[in-house]
């Protein structure tokens, strides 16, 4: 760990709260013109300006991290998602989703994740994903000919119905932009929601069924198993040493 690499970590640790705050602010300036389309255009321009400023700040953060990183190529490959979001202005909703990843800084103190805590975080990420996707789809669909999604509550209902794959069809995007947002939300969100419903099921089953249950094992348990095995090997190795040692002695043990 060279000095430069720890400077990257220091930077990330220092910048993290500010990045989180800016992510929250970005969601706000992204949402306001969509939720209140009739407001004074001044506010609209303020939001646009704030959005641009935040984008510039995220760009500055990326450049800083890039210059502090050990391996330039490896940094770019690992953080391809950040670069993608920065370079494509049209992917503004994705910038709003940075908040999901910024949640990582809240985990600096946690040593390990219980399934419950992880489910709460993933649940929060899913809620955020649906909320932002609904904003983007509303922005694209409102007022378009043949579009059915007209208000934010309707957009949210569409989002939930879609991400659970129920898909009634009472509301569906008709514009190209809306449909692209829908596809991205499906790919990202269906798995997240599967994780959440699986956790809810585990919780309900635990509350109902006391006592041992047929469950699947986890990596923790296998790691425990592997550790047991390794210490077993060590013990056997030690077992062998004294026996090998005094081979020329009177009492042959081997």
């Amino acid at each position: 760990m060279t000095t430069k690499h720890s400077r990257l970590q220091q930077w990330e640790r220092t910048a993290a709260p500010y990045l989180t705050a800016m992510s929250v602010l970005f969601i706000a300036v992204y949402a306001v013109p969509i939720l209140w389309p009739g407001i004074d255009p001044v506010w609209g321009r303020i939001c646009d300006g704030a959005g641009l400023l935040i984008w510039a700040l995220f760009g500055a953060d990326y450049v800083t991290r890039f210059s502090l990183a050990d391996g330039r190529r490896r940094f770019v490959r690992a953080h391809w998602f950040d670069l993608l979001v920065l370079l494509l202005p049209a992917l503004r909703p994705l910038r709003a989703l940075r908040l999901v990843f910024a949640l990582k800084v809240l985990n600096q103190r946690a040593e390990s994740w219980t399934r419950g805590r992880l489910a709460v975080y993933v649940g929060g990420a899913t809620v955020l994903l649906v909320a932002v996707a609904a904003l983007a789809v509303l922005d694209a669909e409102r007022g378009q000919p043949g579009a059915a999604i007209d208000s934010y509550p309707e957009a949210l209902w569409w989002g939930v119905v879609t991400i659970t794959t129920v898909g009634y069809g009472d509301l569906a995007p008709v514009t190209m932009e809306g449909r692209l947002v829908a596809v991205a939300m499906m790919i990202g969100g269906i798995g997240l929601l599967g994780f959440v419903t699986g956790s809810v099921t585990s919780w309900i089953v635990d509350r109902v069924a006391a006592g041992p249950k047929p469950e699947e094992i986890t990596r923790e348990q296998l790691t425990e198993l592997l550790d047991e095995m390794r210490s077993l090997r060590n013990e056997i190795a030690e077992l062998r040493k004294p026996m090998r040692g005094p081979e020329v002695s009177r009492a042959p043990e081997g």
Copy 2:
């Protein structure tokens, strides 16, 4: 285990049958005005009154358990769901779902759960969830402009179609309240139903395919494995002791 903690357990064991009975009664007084909306208003008021009384009794039970608990803060954190249901009168359907959790008392005698028995319980919980959600959605949707769900059989059909995520769209809630119930049912129920269909598949596969099958392992088996390993370690430890013992003897082993 202090005296107070065992008093909590004693209270829970004594109160359990009564709480179960009250849960069943609550579902009844909740369902009657919805299924028979045209009945004499007297009955409606009786049901309302009975509902309030049961709510008060559940509240008394919670307070009793709170006062008997060892750690006050830990009790509140563990039973956050009970407190939530008590404090939000609008969540009446959730109170009806307490029956699912009250089923736990039936498990006092069971030592362990086979996959079959667990599937039956979870299946029952799913049926109850759909039945209660259908009641709540019918209550919200009936008579509203544009609403399609008009009778309890229709509400049940909507519930099944939604919880399996098939989601035809022939029936879907249009009111805010109905949609909120729908979202809660999706999050809770899709996982439960996944559990049930998975169990049915296992049952069918078992009936068709005799003999060993490629299956996933369970925690029981891994626990068995871990136990084997621990006893293995113990044996090796004992193996070493006699060797360590006579260290001052003529034949050095170590």
Copy 3:
């Protein structure tokens, strides 16, 4: 294994091909009046009669197996599904599904199931389930007011769209009977289809990706692991015996 129990097995082995043939015949006499509703009523009565005869024969088989079984109560509990299908004449489609379970006799010679062979059997069971459910729904929906399903190809399309949970909603049952069949098919079939699509995915992934892949372990592998461990224990036990033995000898080993 008493004489009576082996007589039950002998009976099951002897009767199995006839039961399979009768299951196939039952599907035929069930399907003909539904697929060709305009045929001569004579054929309709022949099919009804044949259906009744087959039902009687299945009943005779059940009674025979019951009298040959070791434990009467345990037999009834294990074969509750057979009894249910026999006693409820309305569950004729379920009788048609007996063919799925009759496939078990084809497995008498197989020692173990590969994932591929199991997938083919489950795939066949799923196809049969959809085909029979489509027959039943067509029978219930045809000619009813407001019903959309009018022909067997349409019923099959509805069946596939439902069992994959895609659920377009272009076709959906409107009668109580049709909806009951739909619910049964959903509960039984969604899991089966999940099994099939999972197998297809494994097959595609295997064809594309040569070499080791991150996969989940199976029960076979864990059984192998447990066997290894047990033999390990035996070896250590044998290791200890000779060492414990000559404790009074001159060369202490332990």
Copy 4:
């Protein structure tokens, strides 16, 4: 490994790039008449001719591999899919999917698959499957009475909505041919997409949750476990040998 078997491998290795190129070309000549139906019929005939030529070349490749294979029957059984695609001209879209399997040649150099790389490949296969199925459905549905799918973007939207099992129903095939393509895409694609969404979920969870997480174990880990056990057994076996050795010595150990 006889000379003939290695000749089969040599042929496969040599032919692979050409087969991949022809697969890509086939998708092109299959797509062009569908995407641009109004073009000069000359081009249409050129595409048909090119398609026939490529089909003949694939047939020649199959015959060559068949003659070079060790076990004729085993070759036919293993490559039943290739034979099926060759013999059924109507399954032209499936021929277009050969590209998915041709991707295997790109894997000759890779030693092992990380979950990330496998997800990218499966994601690519899924995109290709949806793109080709949309072509086939558009070809079948365009201009038919009552058909809703009229352009390639609409067909793609239908494909994504179907493969995620959301199934709004705003677009659905009405022709027999279109519905058959839809069924095939559902069976093949729903599992693939499940794989992709599962990988996306893992990626998101990894980015958010640092530190150990409750995860499922993999076959790699179990192989490691089995190796540990085997070496453990070897060590114990060696432990016993020296003890067995000097049996005629003064200190009997055994």
